[in-house]
């Protein structure tokens, strides 16, 4: 029971982190139809910027400034890059963001080098807040949960309760009409792109100290974010939240389990072969659930695409 509770918390932390990344991505996609391959790169930029700022002004200024800088950079990319490419259609847009991801990675390597950078939690959050059994729950993890949930609530509020949110939602479905009503739709696009990348940046700022800050961190999370928004339904904030938590818990429980596929084979009445290399099922006999944990989200994605192609919360494409 204790173990279950601990995993529940760990999965929540990881899931909420995924949510911050996928929320921006899904908003950008639903509004502009752009699958932003460089999204995870902005996450990495957030971590590196925050590290750089934290060496001069401490963690908290990094938390405050880095997402803003990343957001401005993101808005700049939209204004001077994507908007020009947009007229040529979706494929050039895809290629543009794809190239941008490489560019950002090389930029990061050029400035900060190939090694890990020592980006750490602030000292006042670097303690065990409480423990369940022998397992300490770090204060920083609780802080991560707090930040992610407040981001979700404020996004939800802005999108559904404010004027800006109304315009965004309207621009989502009827951009021409909104434009004719006198709203600056390109401006809205730029704003959404900026906010989306800033969210990714913020995720990087708070995840950097936990998941280590190194040039491979974008690639590591890049693909799973796409899986999240496909499962949740492209363009749905709630979908992104549910899918993120689902993936968070799924990978956490899979990694912490000690389930072996040999148990299934034994239950089926098969006998464990003495000479493993001669058995046709040798891979299955030695396989454990933690080993295949990282591919579970991809299997879920395939399953969802088969039974509900528009995702858990997605609206059916007309």
């Amino acid at each position: 029971m204790e173990f279950f509770l601990v995993n529940l918390i760990d999965g929540l932390v990881y899931g909420l982190l995924l949510f911050m990344l996928s929320a921006g991505l899904t908003l950008i996609f639903s509004m502009m139809g752009v699958l932003n391959f460089a999204h995870a790169s902005f996450y990495m930029l957030g971590a590196y910027f925050a590290y750089e700022i934290s060496t001069y002004m401490g963690f908290w200024m990094g938390l405050l400034l880095a997402p803003v800088i990343v957001g401005i950079a993101g808005a700049g990319v939209e204004r001077y890059g994507l908007r020009r490419v947009h007229q040529y259609g979706h494929v050039p847009e895809l290629i543009f963001t794809f190239g941008l991801a490489f560019l950002i990675e090389e930029f990061v390597k050029f400035i900060w080098g190939n090694n890990l950078v020592p980006y750490r939690e602030p000292a006042i959050l670097d303690f065990a807040l409480f423990s369940i059994g022998n397992n300490n729950i770090a204060a920083y993890k609780v802080f991560m949960i707090f930040v992610s949930i407040s981001i979700f609530l404020s996004l939800l509020y802005i999108l559904t309760r404010t004027r800006v949110g109304m315009v965004i939602q309207a621009a989502l479905s009827y951009p021409r009409t909104v434009e004719n009503l006198g709203h600056n739709v390109p401006m809205v696009f730029m704003g959404v792109f900026g906010v989306g990348t800033a969210l990714a940046g913020l995720a990087g700022v708070i995840a950097g100290p936990q998941l280590s800050t190194f040039p491979g961190m974008a690639i590591l999370l890049g693909s799973i974010v796409f899986v999240t928004i496909v499962i949740g339904g492209l363009g749905s904030l709630w979908g992104a939240l549910v899918a993120s938590l689902l993936i968070g818990w799924m990978t956490t429980f899979a990694a912490s389990s000690s389930f072996q596929f040999a148990d299934i084979l034994l239950a089926l009445g098969l006998e464990k072969p003495v000479e493993m290399s001669e058995s046709a099922l040798r891979d299955l006999w030695t396989l454990t659930l933690p080993q295949i944990g990282p591919i579970l989200p991809y299997m879920l994605m395939v399953f969802i695409l088969v039974v509900r192609p528009y995702g858990l919360f997605g609206k059916r494409d007309s």
């Binding site: 090694n115 750490r120 190194f214 990694a255 912490s256």
Partner: protein, 414 residues
Amino acid sequence: MRKSLKLGLGATLALTVSASSLFAENIKIAFIEPLSGFMASTGNSGLHQYEFAAEKLVNANGGVLDGDMIEIVAFDNKLSGKEALVQLQVAIDQGIRFIAQGNSSGIAHAILDAINKHNKRNPDDLVLFLNYSAVDPALTNDKCSFWHFRFDANADFKMDALTDVIAQNNDLSKVYVIGQDYSFGKAVAAGAVRDLAAKRPEIEIVGNELHPIGKVKDFTPYARKIIASNADAVITGNWGSDMVGLGKAVLESGFDGPIYTFYASADGITATFGEKGKGSLRVVSVDALNPNTSDRAAEYATAYKAKYPEGDLSQPRITNVVEMLAKAINEVGSATDIVAIANAFEGMEHDSIWGGKIVMRPEDHQAIQNMYILSHTDDDVAFDYDNSGYGLLVENTVEMAGADSTTTCEMKRP
């Protein structure tokens, strides 16, 4: 008429070229390592350490033989065995006879294989392989070669030394083994289980687990399992971000026992762990920078830091490679008689600048030397890593580790 003129010109040209090369003859070591890509920092750091060792320990003292200088020539193998072989051929074509490589045992096998073939086909143009880092035991066992010398300990020696220390520590009764799901991670796991069972059978292996290499985003669930198993110690062969991710997650989850590792130092890892790793993190290695044993070592390390303020002496054993090569060449009196130089290496005893003695075992060309269990700390650390104030300090010493080990090597000598 014209033809003879051309011939004459060619002859004079050839004469001048050979004459000039007679005067400034450098003894070249080809350094074939990843100098681009994600392992570039490791490769470049090794290159600096080689260049500095050659400059400071040999060239500054008048070089070898009659003033010949040792020169390090860098080749980028892009962390690929195929590319390494191309670069090896380029190096051989340039007349380089000494090859230094060590990052990745897979590449070491490829290079050794190619050198074996080359030396068989070209008995007048032999090449020697100075392996300073690749730890696969096979290189000095089944696959051993007269042309290969290993200056690092092999993986079995390291595990042997580590399990010696664990077996002597009566506080440890439950050990958790976790590693990356590939050949080295599996070798570490198999070695730990085998050696612990032999040395102290009552030690319980409470977990033996492999995780996908470079794919785990969050190591917390693994850490929780380690805590839940009530393990007293953790053994892992992880490196890079997998090492940091695992180590941090385990420590943050409340584990306070020792974490025995092979590659948890320098290249940003020491700085990232910082205070958190103190008291837990241990590294098994043949290299000991702290405590400082001699003025000579201190001067060397200080001078290195002065030249490369951002760099670290992450592989101090490189000095042994360079010094022992110079010694062998001087002993033979020639830098081209490779067979004689190889024979000079066999059984050579060398007092390392870092303290301790190194003996190159003739049977398998494996260096026998002291092995250390080092602890990650900021106390009494004169030479830190990553400019972090933290470094590695000798905690246990296994004298001449692996000296009594057996080898399956059947050396074919020329």
